[in-house]
Structures are given as C-alpha cells and as structure tokens.
Symmetry: C2
Subunit: 192 residues, 2 copies
C-alpha cells in the first residue's frame, strides 16, 4: 500500500494533469488526497515543496513505466531498449497521459515562475543522461559529447511531440512514427 505521502503526490499529479499547475491549491489537494491541509504542510512545508516533490515523483514514475520489461520476455537489444524507453512516453494510457500532461505543465509554468527551474533542469539532465547511456549501448564507439547531443535532441523532440499530441495537433500513431524515424536519423548520424 502506498504511504500517505505517496498518496498526496499521486493526488497532486492528478490535480496538475486535470487543471494545470496554476490550478493547484493546497486546499483542493487535501480534498483530492482525502487528508488534512496540516498533513500536507507537515510533509511538504508549502505549495512549492509540493510542486518540487511532484516533479520528482512524475520523473521517477516515467522512469518506471519506460523501463518495465515483461519477466518472461527475451532480453532486449540496446536498440530495442532505446526505442522502448522513448516510445513508451507516447502511449494512450491514463498514467502516461497524466504524467506527460503534468510534466508539460511543470515545464510551461517554469517559463513564468523561477521557483521550479533548478529542479526541472536537474530532472532534465538526469533524463538526458539515461537516454545518452542507451544510445551508447547502440553506438559504443561514439564520443560522449555526440551521445549527449543526440540524447538532448531526442528528449526535446519527445517533449515537443508529446505536447502536440496532448494539445490535439498530432495523432498519437503519427507521433510514434516521427519518433522512430528520429531515432533512425540520430543513430545514423552517430555512425557505426
């Protein structure tokens, strides 16, 4: 069973995905999570503390659902692992939709509010580093700087495609095709 703190973070991700970061008030979060506002202040100090930890929570959750493998499945090749990690962010499931919406909202709100910028930059670096390592598995002879650049592009493209999908400008199946072709182009660019 999830701890009380985890339940609050799950509720915060739901509220942000439904109404945006700017729609998140501590009173509503308490009501959504079925706890008192005092408990929220106890665990998170203030609204900024809630937002910071929600950012970490949704990053961790994305890492979980993009790295889960079926127990009985044959081991994935590095290329399959890379594709799976990126394409699992483009799925029409409740958790991916909620996670991507909340991530996009935290990103968009950081344009106006400097509070979250440092945490967001750190979470972005961690994500880029993970994708760079997967690219390194596909192209082991590539220099680190080339892998990092390709990872920055693939993750920034994923953010762009995801926001287009969620805002109704791009069908999901086509977003997945575009992402797969981008992986092709970057892997080709890294050479053998």
């Amino acid at each position: 069973m999830a701890s009380r703190k985890t339940s609050i973070l799950e509720a915060a991700a739901r509220v942000i995905a439904r109404r945006g970061v700017r729609g998140l008030r501590v009173e509503e979060l308490a009501s959504e999570a079925g706890v008192s506002t005092a408990l929220i202040y106890y665990h998170f100090k203030d609204r900024t503390g809630v937002l910071r930890q929600t950012l970490e929570f949704i990053s961790d959750r994305a890492e979980r659902y993009t790295t889960d493998r079926d127990a009985g499945a044959p081991p994935a090749t590095p290329r399959e692992e890379l594709e799976q990690t990126l394409l699992l962010e483009l799925q029409d499931t409740a958790v991916v939709r909620e996670n991507s919406t909340a991530w996009g909202e935290l990103r968009a709100s950081a344009v106006f509010d400097e509070t979250l910028r440092e945490d967001l930059a750190r979470a972005t670096r961690v994500w880029v580093q993970e994708v760079a390592e997967l690219l390194g598995g596909v192209r082991p002879m590539s220099p680190a700087v080339a892998l990092a650049g390709a990872a920055e592009r693939l993750t920034a493209l994923l953010e762009g495609l995801s926001t287009r999908w969620l805002s109704g400008s791009l069908p999901l199946a086509h977003a997945r095709t575009l992402m797969t072709e981008a992986i092709d182009a970057e892997v080709a660019r890294l050479g053998a």
Copy 2:
C-alpha cells in the same frame, strides 16, 4: 502606424508572454492596450476571439521575423534559408522571447482547453508546410511525405528546445547548436 486592432493584438501577446494565457482578462488587456473593454468586444466578440486572433497574429509575426532578409545581402542558398528560418526562432531578442513564450502558452493551454485546438492545429500545419517547402529546396528529389515528416520533426524539436530555453533548462547557444545538428541529420536522412 498600427491600427487599433493591431495594437490590441500586440498588447495581448505582451500580456500572455508576461502572465500566461490564464492570466489574460479582457479588463487587463484593455488597460494594457489603452482602450475600452467595449472596443475589444467590438473587434473580437469575446475572450476566445482575442485568443484565436492572437494566435494568428503571433504566427504571422514569427513568419515575418524568420523570413526577413537584408536588402543588400546576396541571395541565400536553400540550405541557408532553411537554417535561418529555424534558428531565428532561437534568438534572445524581446520580440522572439515574447512570441515564443506566447506560442508555448497557447500550446500548453490547449492541453486543458479545447477551444483553441483547431486554430492551433491549423497554424501548426501551415508552419510545417513552410518548413517542408524549404527542405524541398535543399532536397528537390525527396518525396513529399519524407519532407513533411522531416518538417514535423524539426518544428516539434524547435518547440521542445524553445520551451527548455525559456524555462531555464538549456542555454540558448547550445539550443542553436542542437538545432543546427538536427538539420544536418534530417537533410542527410533525406539523401541527395
């Protein structure tokens, strides 16, 4: 001199870039533009009308500043034209920062509010088509579907990089390098 309607649209772009779409109220827009709320309702019918026409206004403005050439400059090659069009969206000038912030906000708000989705999808298609034509100048033998895919990726990447830049996760100079390398990768993928 700009018409009264244009002044209102300029003021709307400023307000959205400063406080977000959700911070735009007709009363504040009237005060920012130095006009009456009645004049705003006369020109735009309602707040949705303001948002729709602001979206068109910032798309047109982006097209202007990305296609302006110095009168005395030698004609650009197709590749230079393509790079210039995309890289001019990654400049630290007041108008580009304001335009990109407002565009990102309209995109982000469409995730929650369906009203703008159709206009946004149309503006996205127009932009993709322009970039596809520039790519066709660089690679005239490429099939239209390949050009369109590359244009969708380059413009979605630009949105992703631009939001990372504006939210403090990516230095501008590095965003420009990443964009230039993406153009290389896509042009290489299109072949000769």
